[in-house]
Symmetry: C2
Subunit: 251 residues, 2 copies
């Protein structure tokens, strides 16, 4: 009998997740609060410890629980909030499966960074982190070192937007693209152009010019990833399946 859509009885660990979620919503559990131990939870919910552990793995993967071994106030499972790590894992695996293309990731990052820079400019954000990252970048010698502080610069922009969700997205996207960032620095043969872009972005945010901040970010990312992104309004071409091979038309 094929073509049957089974009802998929809930598995035990799914029940555990639902119960914990219910406690979060109902009992007002918050970040930092401690969950009962695995054995105790298993007894309370009438499931085996294995099922509790599978539920913990899921919650840990989603970035809402962290576990420490040992004994004492710091041991056990705690509620946390780390969406960025979860997003990074997700992107990394789906990129590995070739079910997300590099272009899609770069495009998404361009979208978020433009948005973040525009918001940061409009909100009169604190620029100290941006300025510090700029100075550190000036003092670097290797591509890896440069990329490290470059990351700090871009993360600071995201944080200055004041939105933790887009910041998490931006962090994980950037994480997925780290090795391409190093390649980009080496391909460009120097960081002068990138630094000029950075100062332009910094200036635009400092003066509260949202449109200029957004445009500066776009130009910057197009320099780092030439030919990958298509701005809305670019002439149509034949899709994005096999674009990585001829991604050098910006030159």
């Amino acid at each position: 009998m094929s073509g049957w859509q089974p009802v998929r009885r809930t598995r035990a660990f799914e029940d555990v997740i639902a119960q914990i979620e219910r406690r979060i919503a109902g009992d007002g559990l918050r970040v930092g609060d401690r969950l009962p131990g695995e054995r105790q939870l298993a007894e309370q919910l009438r499931v085996s410890r294995s099922s509790v552990r599978e539920a913990m793995r899921v919650l840990e993967t989603l970035g809402v629980v962290s576990s420490q071994v040992g004994r004492g106030p710091d041991a056990g499972a705690f509620l946390i909030s780390r969406p960025a790590e979860a997003l990074s894992d997700l992107l990394r695996l789906h990129l590995g499966l070739s079910n997300l293309s590099l272009e899609e990731v770069v495009d998404a990052r361009l979208m978020i960074e433009k948005w973040s820079a525009a918001h940061a400019a409009a909100h009169g954000a604190d620029l100290s982190a941006l300025t510090a990252a700029l100075e550190r970048m000036d003092a670097t010698t290797t591509a890896e070192e440069f990329v490290e502080h470059d990351t700090a610069f871009h993360v600071a922009i995201a944080e200055a937007s004041g939105n933790r969700l887009t910041t998490a997205m931006m962090l994980s996207l950037r994480d997925s693209l780290r090795r391409y960032a190093v390649e980009a620095v080496e391909r460009l043969g120097g960081t002068a152009g990138l630094m000029a872009d950075h100062r332009r972005i910094h200036r635009a945010i400092a003066t509260g010019d949202a449109a200029e901040a957004s445009a500066a970010v776009e130009d910057h990312l197009r320099r780092a990833y030439p030919g990958i992104s298509r701005p809305p309004g670019a002439e149509d071409d034949e899709g994005f399946e096999r674009q990585q091979g001829r991604s050098d038309r910006v030159g």
Copy 2:
């Protein structure tokens, strides 16, 4: 072996995940391929079946593996690619923990929808799904029914952008906001204004006007979710709109 990592001993299930990830990258595993059974994998990797199962829960949570019981070609664990489901779970839990505010989610959705609409307009996307959703919305009577087809309309916009990552983000964001969407329809007391917005969006995409599509989406979402944050540049100029228009030179 020179150095030991004293801080974070790798857990067995993390090894399993790393091995599977290596097979994906190295052996060219693709979506649809089948993984070895839990028992076989445990034997190959010299870990217990419990550890394999915990790894499976993680991969399942990230939307890259799906498991079926039974026997035969359809049983066992398969590689899939469902980032949207994973993102939905992530957002739901973090919203529940109150570590992401509704405003942040709505803002992120606004960003993605504006971007998607602009891209769809610029790419001359297929409008049949959009048109069909519009007609179905006209024929509905209840708020729930309307929201259902409204979702189809907005998802169609995201898909028309041609980016699976932003589409997945948009799907999960919308999923998190479903109940607020129903509330919005009931609060507005009718769907006339929303439908007018929809037709304006549809028209803009059809005519390839990216800036207008973006502006139409923004007005639409501000009608549905009043009180979300001002666009960047609202204080001094029409920054975001101008910035979009600047890069949207359609010809």
